[in-house]
Amino acid sequence: MKPRIYIPGDSGALALGAEKVAKAIAAELAERGIEAKIVRNGSRGAYFLEPMVEVETESGRVAYGPVKSSDVKSLIDSGLLTGGSHRLSLGDPEAIPFIARQTRLTFARCGIIDPLSLEAYEHHGGLAGLRKAVAMTPADVVAQVTESGLRGRGGAGFPTGIKWKTVLDTNADRKYIVCNADEGDSGTFADRMIMEGDPFVLIEGMTIAGIATGATKGFIYIRSEYPHAVAVMRKAVEIARKAGVLGIHVLGSPNTFDMEVRVGAGAYVCGEETALLDSLEGKRGMVRAKPPLPAHKGLFGKPTVINNVISLASVPIIMDKGAAHYKDFGMGRSRGTIPLQIAGNIRYGGLFETAFGLTLGEIIDDIGGGSATGRPVKAVQVGGPLGAYFPRDLFDTPFDYEAFAAKDGLIGHAGIVVFDDSADMLKMARFAMEFCAVESCGKCTPCRIGSTRGVETLDRLSAGIEPQKQVALITDLCNTMKFGSLCALGGFTPYPVMSALTHFPEDFKPAPVAEAAE
């Protein structure tokens, strides 16, 4: 057998030079007349080690990283193909602390297999969940997902099984499964990673959702900022269709299911589920009033399951290993695992899948190793642009939906962005308002007008114009936006603004006016 070399094709790894490394390795091997197979896998998520090159040896895989193209010659000289020792040696990748400490359920295969090899997918446990699902009644599939305690990983945390049951119980001539892959939150990349690194798990999860609810057509709505994920998903759907995983007879069963990949067009608000449905229908991405729920009247007015990528990608393992296996992980009402995305100014950044319940402090200091710049961590924003900024005082908060809500925060899609002490929280609060103003769909007044007035108020505050009055005004405005907005864009923009104001009041005091030199 030819030796196998794994070089990630994940866009995070590409952004750090994986393509150059792959080309250099291929060229060097050709020059020396060495035969080896280069596999472009996804990323294991340890981005501080990317590009991480792995070699399959007789005693298992051996990793090297972070590799630059200039390291390639010396790597091959040191016996790369047999796992030889080199200054970039990382040993067994599964033993790297950042990877060894994780509980990988949803991301079990990500970074390990060739993302577009259905054979490798099956060899690593893929399709086992779908095979079980096709042999079950839809109600039993829904019951198992409900029993697992899986909650929507997009941010809202709504129980997935209950959503599915509503669609199953609604009669219609046509139903849809829509996958929300419009992962627009800064600090999040779990959806991108799984689509690039293990696309079949999402296809399998959506197909199970179709069987469970009687839907026969699925759409994956991917944001246009993810060109690599779009390309991989499109190829994977094609492969799944040819292999009979998708089509008139899913895996030879009487169930029919097929899907299409659709690409967004740069509107953040389309990550909101009803705006996404309008966008899929070919309209402006305007938020819809609820009711009717999408589960009753969704895409083209038909009952629709709309779930986040990670929710759907977690379903295959639940079907395969059983609800109890998944439910055993986690704390309180947050069951199973959550792929934390540790990002921003952080030393060991990346994706860390773990059971709910780690404290924010453990995540930032222990796993993340503190800031990248080496300066003290001042604030962390959890849950994307609409999430709260937490100071060090709240680092004992466990990562759990309810625990974060109790501290006026949210876990959202589990993105964690770290800021060092150079961050200006007034500037970050203003950015939150400005972002809301730019991205507002314009349907409801608190969001459309409130965000613009918010920017103006914070500008007056930083100019030192009647500061106390501005603080009172912004507090009142945030209250109106929180309770009066139609969706989470206007409704949650107050989280970053008010948390910045509450926890970092010193940044909201006007700078003392410099006295003119005499």
Binding site: E183, A265, L280
Partner: protein, 159 residues
């Protein structure tokens, strides 16, 4: 310099793109993506063609085109550089990267250099948040942008 096709040619080319996709469920966004891929922007001339083929009003089509940040009304430069300006990249100094690039290229966001070399656009998250600050240059991802990488980017877009 390549000649711009005449508006009748644009309409004819657009018509074939539309015909290829109009039977999709919810075809408007895929059609607009197809048109932008073909022309580099969404020419005004195609709006009535789309409207008539999809049985929509021109106002509806214009409303959709103007809603989404991706659809451009004008051609871009030879390169398109999208710089991430979202929170994660801000935490790693994307403001300074943007300022340096703007100064070096002599343009602001949403502008194209006078020699037509590059169009600079802000983008809000590329999903490369563990490698901030990040950018997308003609579809190629770039992470951990520092002074050296800024110089490389400038050299590449100027070449």
């Amino acid at each position: 310099m390549a000649l711009q096709p005449a508006s009748t040619e644009i309409a004819a080319q657009a018509a074939s793109i539309i015909d290829g996709m109009k039977d999709l469920e919810g075809p408007l966004l895929p059609i607009l993506h197809g048109i932008q891929e073909e022309f580099g922007f969404v020419p005004q001339e195609v709006l009535p063609v789309i409207a008539s083929k999809l049985n929509l009003s021109r106002a509806e089509v214009y409303g959709v085109v103007s809603f989404y940040h991706d659809y451009r009304k004008h051609p871009t430069g030879r390169h398109v550089l999208k710089l991430c300006q979202a929170e994660s990249c801000q935490s790693m100094g994307s403001d300074a990267v943007a300022a340096r690039l703007k100064q070096a290229l002599g343009i602001d966001f949403h502008q194209t250099t006078t020699d037509g070399a590059v169009t600079l656009e802000p983008v809000y998250c590329l999903g490369l948040c563990a490698c901030s600050p990040a950018a997308l240059l003609d579809g190629e991802v770039i992470g951990r942008i520092d002074a050296e990488k800024v110089d490389e980017i400038i050299a590449e877009v100027r070449s």
